[in-house]
């Protein structure tokens, strides 16, 4: 979805066009794919899917019904209404959904939208993950329904829910057993000392740590007091508005009492692990230290031994390199190789999904989202330039890539539009794509052997694959035969061949902790036992060979960093933990049951049915505008693709005015296709003032229609256009002219305005807690407005806005902005500025003119990340204090340039919960055509993001 909704709001609420000047930036949520939606009706669900993923939808339906039965028992409750369940066959498709207007980050596995009770879930190739997410989201559905039921039964307004730690903790607790990943997080939190007690859970609100701590809390309650206590917390929710009281009434423990028990139990559980295992930081050397880093691969270039990896240290994810043999205890400085997430070509890296690889001749293969789907890129490290980019028809998501030893082919895992995750081989010279596997199993992490004959990969094609087990398999490339390499009920992943082809490094969670293991190979056969090379308290991922040493990504202190381990062969020879790999044929498989539509009545094409999103009404008495009242409501279809907005209100001050004082606007917005559009009609009447000159009141009756379209070129760029025609009858309101000089008054006039505008907008900015820190934003708008009836108005507009952000340090930036707004012609509107958002130190919107320019420069830096204020009723955490030093200069004029104004000073910003930024500025104005500084200081307090 592009910015049409925002534009529409401006149309509905702020008819004065110039007011929209602050709202035109933002990235685009692009509807690349035309989905052919169907509906599969099961006993409890309406499952929305597109035709290519019909088989997956049937399997998801079976999982959903299975989960429903389990949860109905756990909740002792059922959901009265049918549950709309929207499936996408990949995360990239999921990111296009219009069910939520916001952008969906890569880490979001699904969501429950409680206004219409919709559950939206992507498939990522793993049926086990699919089952987990379906059940997780259905726990939300049941929780919401159960809490509503409890409150309604007690005649309490059902407008509250338990705290998020409980909501998400429960969704995890009742959707998946306590697993290796959950244990990794809690082990690290306890051993590294950042476990947040229940009483302070607000400090990690919304984080993954909160999810897992919430799950751990409920696990502990279930084990200690009985699982029924969790149900009782919901049954007892009517008892108090403070969940802590509900918690205490149910468990007999206040938060602090509970914390003492719980944290002590965790310490008793995890501290002993340190006697037999180590934190990564205590036994290995760091290769990285900032951001999250993963997927290391070793390469020698011009005698330099380097590790290439994916990292997000700057906020943008990209490919970096560090020397593999850097001495010293500190991580070496990383060098950026490929800048990601600023340009369309590399729109998004998959930080934890897609391994990269470098060929012997120095060609780096990697994957990014690029347009509609993922693309495979080859970068020449010797020439330091992009060599090729490949898009594959039918392939949506690409995972790990691996070069064949001769550098002629690339093996990769990929998900097609049906959601099937298989292995492929791409021969660039022959432009040939070969599908190496073709089944319903999740095939990942291919690693091409140095002799070129085999590909080792990880897959759930194993008898316990339906409960999340992955084993390593060998694919014989010439014959296509697949055989077991490891055989176990645990999870084996990320195989990496030794350069000699005589051993494989991989990770396994044998014993409950993901460590690096090694298996010697004799050709394509295992040779001897596999041995554990690391003994970490937390976890290791993506091991790689680096000149005989081991490099891997390790989790520690809630961060993923690359670590350099010891000599691999020595570690193998001295390893004390081993296991026999038990290879063999891959003949024992599993199959996920499916619910298919049995006939046309249960499997239907999707038809738009509209239902209420929001209804809002008001009666307002205003000292200036009198009493008025009205209603606003919006409707949309289940997929959120089509939306209707209705606004009606009346401004009549007497019964005679009732009919003539109706204000009505009706709009339709379509977000279904890449080109978003909206159109509507409106009639507004009443007294109002012009934002560009608030001293002037007038009466206006305006009616007309508009059409606006937006075409996103990519996430970062778009063209948009707007056409409108409106009839305006304007009259000066008597009695309100006392302070208005006569010569500035618009006299009564009638006009039929035809207005057209065309805009180009770019935004790839990266945001910190108070505003952008990196990237750039710019927009150019050309507009022409004319009165086609009587030529009372006839003007053109040019609006240019350029903003650039230069990163100084991780959380500091220098920001600059340039505005040029230009209106010229008969009855051209004035622009305005002044105040905390633009030219600081001056009264808000006090500087007005038909032409306007502004330059702002600002240094943004962090002051304080968190401030906890303790009160008898609890602690309030304030997060995201940021500082600014600024300089502004600008001027506005109608016909003749008047003067240049300016300001400089310092400011404080405070982010209140991510939605509201409080701003406090102190400074001096530069006055008298930029000749004098203000006597004293100005102080401005306002809200809003930095430019």
């Amino acid at each position: 979805m592009s910015r049409i909704v925002i534009c529409l709001s401006a149309v509905l609420l702020l008819p004065t066009a110039a007011a929209a000047q602050f709202f035109y930036f933002g990235r685009n949520k692009v509807q690349y794919t035309a989905f052919d939606w169907h509906v599969l009706k099961t006993e409890h669900f309406d499952i929305y899917y597109y035709s290519e993923m019909a088989d997956l939808a049937g399997r998801g339906a079976a999982l959903a019904e299975e989960s429903y039965a389990v949860l109905a028992t756990k909740f002792n409750h059922n959901v009265a209404n049918r549950i709309p369940l929207v499936f996408y066959s990949s995360h990239l498709h999921f990111q296009q959904t219009n069910i939520t207007p916001g952008f969906i980050p890569e880490g979001v596995g699904g969501f429950f939208e409680f206004m219409k009770g919709r559950v939206v879930i992507p498939f990522n190739g793993s049926m086990w993950d699919f089952r987990h997410v379906i059940r997780h989201e259905l726990v939300h559905v049941f929780t919401h329904s159960k809490i509503n039921r409890v409150l309604t039964d007690h005649r309490i307004a059902p407008d509250q829910l338990p705290p998020l730690w409980f909501i998400e903790g429960l969704a995890e607790y009742w959707s998946i057993d306590w697993d290796v990943q959950a244990d990794m997080i809690l082990r690290d939190a306890v051993v590294s000392g950042y476990l947040v007690p229940l009483a302070s859970m607000d400090a990690i609100y919304g984080s993954y740590l909160m999810y897992k701590e919430g799950q751990a809390v409920l696990e502990f309650i279930g084990a200690t007091y009985g699982e029924e206590k969790i149900l009782l917390m919901m049954e007892n929710f009517w008892k108090s508005e403070r969940f802590e009281d509900v918690f205490a009434a149910t468990t007999g423990r206040a938060y602090d009492e509970f914390d003492r028990e719980w944290t002590y139990a965790l310490r008793k559980k995890y501290y002993p692990l340190l006697s037999a295992s180590d934190l990564p930081g205590s036994v290995t050397a760091p290769l990285t230290s900032e951001g999250f880093n993963s997927k290391p691969v070793y390469h020698e270039r011009d005698g330099k031994k380097e590790i290439y990896f994916i990292g997000n240290r700057s906020g943008y994810t990209g490919i970096f390199r560090v020397p593999s043999d850097a001495p010293g205890p500190d991580a070496p400085e990383a060098e950026l190789v490929v800048q990601g997430e600023k340009f369309e070509e590399f729109e998004a890296f998959h930080l934890f999904q897609s391994k990269i690889d470098v060929s012997a001749n120095g060609r780096l293969a990697f994957v990014t989202k690029s347009g509609e789907n993922d693309a495979l890129h080859v970068y020449d490290l010797g020439a330091d330039e992009m060599q090729a980019t490949y898009h594959f028809a039918g392939i949506v998501v690409i995972g790990t890539v691996s070069w064949s030893p001769d550098g002629s082919r690339l093996a990769f895992s990929a998900i097609d539009k049906s959601g099937t995750s298989d292995l492929y081989a791409w021969d660039a010279a022959a432009e040939s794509l070969e599908r190496l596997t073709n089944d319903a199993y999740d095939d990942r992490d291919p690693a091409w052997s140095p002799d070129g004959r085999t590909i080792v990969f990880s897959s759930d094609r194993t008898p316990t694959g339906n409960v999340g087990s992955y084993n390593l398999f060998v694919l014989d490339v010439p014959s296509g035969e697949v055989r077991y390499l490891t055989r176990g009920t645990e999870s084996y992943a990320a195989p990496s061949w030794s350069p000699q082809g005589d051993a494989i490094l991989f990770t396994s969670d044998i014993g409950g902790v993901r460590n690096v293991w090694m298996l010697k190979m004799n050709g394509d056969r295992p040779y001897g036992p596999m041995r554990r090379l690391t003994s970490l308290t937390t976890a290791a991922f993506d091991p790689a060979w680096a000149d005989g040493k081991m490099v891997y990504a390790a989790f520690e202190d809630f961060s993923f960093q690359l670590r350099r381990g010891g000599d691999i062969r020595t570690l193998y020879d001295t390893a004390s933990v081993s296991r026999i790999p038990a290879p063999g044929s891959a003949d024992t498989l599993w199959r996920q049951p499916s619910i298919a539509g049995v006939d046309e009545l249960t499997d239907l094409r999707y038809e738009k049915e509209f239902s209420l999103d929001v209804a809002y009404s008001e009666i307002v008495t205003d000292p200036v505008f009198g009493t008025y009242g009205g209603a606003y409501l919006s409707l949309s279809d289940l997929l959120g693709n089509e939306q209707y907005y209705f606004l009606i209100y009346n401004t009549a001050q007497s019964s005679e005015d009732l009919v003539s004082s109706f204000n009505v606007a009706i709009s339709r917005v379509s977000l279904e296709r890449r080109t978003n559009y909206a159109y509507g009609i409106y009639r507004f009447t009443g007294r109002r003032y012009d934002l560009t000159d608030p001293a002037e009141y007038f009466y206006e009756k305006v009616f007309g229609g508009y059409l606006t379209m937006s075409y996103p070129l990519s996430t970062f760029r778009r063209f948009s256009m707007r056409m409108s025609i409106s009839s305006s009858e304007k009259d000066v309101t008597e009695g309100l002219l006392i302070t208005t000089p006569v010569e500035t008054i618009d006299l009564s006039r009638r006009a039929l305005f035809l207005s057209n505008s065309l805009s180009y907008t770019h935004d790839n900015s990266l945001w910190g807690p108070s505003g952008p820190l990196d990237g750039s934003r710019y927009s150019l708008t050309l507009a022409y407005t004319t009165d086609v009836r009587s030529s009372n108005a006839n003007y053109y507009s040019v609006i240019a806005d350029y903003r650039r952000y230069f990163r100084i340090a991780q959380r500091s930036a220098f920001a600059m902005r340039f505005w040029l707004f230009y209106n010229d012609g008969t009855e051209s509107r004035r622009f305005f500025m002044g105040g905390s958002w633009d030219l600081r130190g001056y009264p808000r919107w006090s500087i007005r003119g038909k032409k306007l320019w502004l330059i702002s420069q600002e240094l943004r830096f962090p002051l304080m990340d968190r401030l906890g204020l303790g009160f008898p009723f609890g602690t309030i955490s304030l997060r995201g204090f940021r500082g600014a030093l600024f300089f502004d200069a600008g001027g506005a004029w109608d016909d003749e340039y008047r003067e240049t104004l300016g300001a400089l000073g310092a400011g404080l910003r405070l982010n209140l919960g991510g939605a509201i930024i409080l701003r406090y500025d102190i400074g001096k104005r530069i006055e008298n055509d930029f000749n004098d500084f203000q006597r004293g200081l100005f102080y401005q307090f306002f809200f809003g993001w930095d430019f």
Binding site: N78, N148, R155, P158, E228, A249, G252, L612, D622, P623
Partner: protein, 405 residues
């Protein structure tokens, strides 16, 4: 800090929310579309109706043994006789009936008296807290247990609605019991106490050993006239001497017991969240047999002459031989059953979460009749005077009668 009930109501617990908004400028003076969904329902204290003669169901389960057994048949198919809007939801217990008047407590904290023949309200009184359990009828008085109130066991005069006595007991979310001239009540604090019916004076009290989160009692006590038997959140089944309150024996289940215990002959039957039905010797506390249903049991059992019948949260009924726990039959339901069934003549009546009310042949387990209601059924059907009364979750009291033949 107890939540304060309001008059808000939504038609469905999954209904889309409607936001009522108000302008910020000037004086806020209006209501929006949301107001259309509001309903006003204030209850004044009124005199209760005049009882008529008829069949009685004076406490949960129909008597101190909590057998949920009615001998006067109500033969399906049934038709709806009337429906009454009680104004708010119900706890896990059922209605009580005496002399042609039906009494139902609500979670908003009021008690409604309804004429069984017509469905017309004949009176109502308000309390300081929700009524979870079945009102206990004692001649001209009625006793209710309350949660979240200062005085949790309240006795009122049926004629005047005036309070005869009230006692601070701790929160009660089970149904009080009348036996041997005493009232027995169990609390969330883990106390079982006996009270004099005339003045509410405490006669004895038994206190469970403190155990955080595990010592509450949600299970309604039962009695055979010699002992009081109660299940606990901690999974114990405890028998107390009715006269003294001293513990006679204690048996352990593997999971919490929320469901009322029932007594049939010399056996106590307890349904546990561990999924088991326990049959226990009432004299010794020895477990005679157990039966694992595979699903948590939130409701209790109906006890007939030869069998007991229980519903499971996983859906379905199971009928077991009282003597050895062997399966007599199973019956399917569309969804989980959260309450005890009722054996009414030759039929077993039960409701499920999928809004169905079923009549099952008590001899074979065959479904004989079903009716789709407007919302879930979480309470035990009650039979009196040839009527069958169920509470539906949308706050409806629904009365069925036999269809004309």
């Amino acid at each position: 800090m107890r939540r304060v009930p309001d008059n808000h109501r939504e038609g469905s617990d999954e209904a889309p929310r409607v936001i009522a908004g108000f302008g910020v400028a000037g004086v806020i003076a209006g209501l929006g579309i949301a107001a259309l969904l509001l309903s006003s329902c204030s209850t004044d204290k009124l005199r209760l109706g005049t009882p008529r003669s008829g069949d009685s169901w004076r406490m949960f389960g129909g008597g101190p043994q909590r057998a949920n057994l009615a001998t006067v048949p109500v033969v399906p198919p049934l038709v709806r006789a009337w429906e009454y809007d009680a104004g708010s939801g119900f706890g896990p217990a059922s209605v009580s009936v005496m002399e042609g008047t039906l009494f139902v407590g609500t979670l908003k904290g009021d008690l409604r008296a309804i004429d069984l023949a017509t469905g017309k309200e004949t009176g109502s009184v308000e309390f300081d807290g929700p009524v979870f359990g079945t009102p206990l009828l004692l001649g001209s008085r009625i006793v209710v247990g309350l949660s979240g109130a200062g005085k949790n066991l309240v006795c009122r005069n049926l004629r005047t609605g005036a309070e005869d006595w009230s006692v601070e007991t701790g929160d009660i979310e089970s149904s009080p019991l009348s036996v041997g001239g005493m009232i027995i009540a169990a609390t969330l604090d883990g106390v079982v106490a006996a009270y004099d019916t005339t003045l509410g004076k405490e006669l004895w009290a038994y206190v469970l050993q403190p155990s955080p989160g595990r010592h509450g009692i949600r299970s309604s006590p039962s009695s055979d006239g010699a002992v009081v038997v109660v299940g606990t959140d901690g999974g114990d089944i405890i028998a107390l001497d009715l006269a003294t309150g001293r513990q006679r024996w204690k048996a352990a289940a593997r999971g919490a017991i929320f469901a009322p215990t029932s007594i049939g002959g010399d056996r106590v039957f307890a349904c546990s969240l561990d999924g088991n039905v326990y049959a226990i010797d009432i004299g010794t506390g020895a477990v005679i047999w157990t039966f694992d249903t595979g699903f948590p049991l939130y409701g209790g059992a109906a006890v007939g002459r030869e069998m007991i019948v229980a519903g499971t949260s996983g859906g379905g009924l199971v009928a077991l031989s009282r003597s050895d726990g062997s399966i007599l039959w199973r019956a399917r339901t569309d969804a989980g059953v959260g309450s005890a069934p009722a054996i009414v003549g030759a039929f077993v009546y039960v409701g499920d979460l999928e809004r169905n009310l079923y009549a099952i042949d008590a001899a074979t387990g065959a479904e004989v009749w079903r009716e789709k209601l407007d919302s879930r059924v979480r309470t035990t059907p009650v039979s009196a005077d040839g009527w069958l009364v169920v509470l539906a979750e949308d706050r409806s009291v629904i009365c069925f009668t036999q269809a004309p033949r």
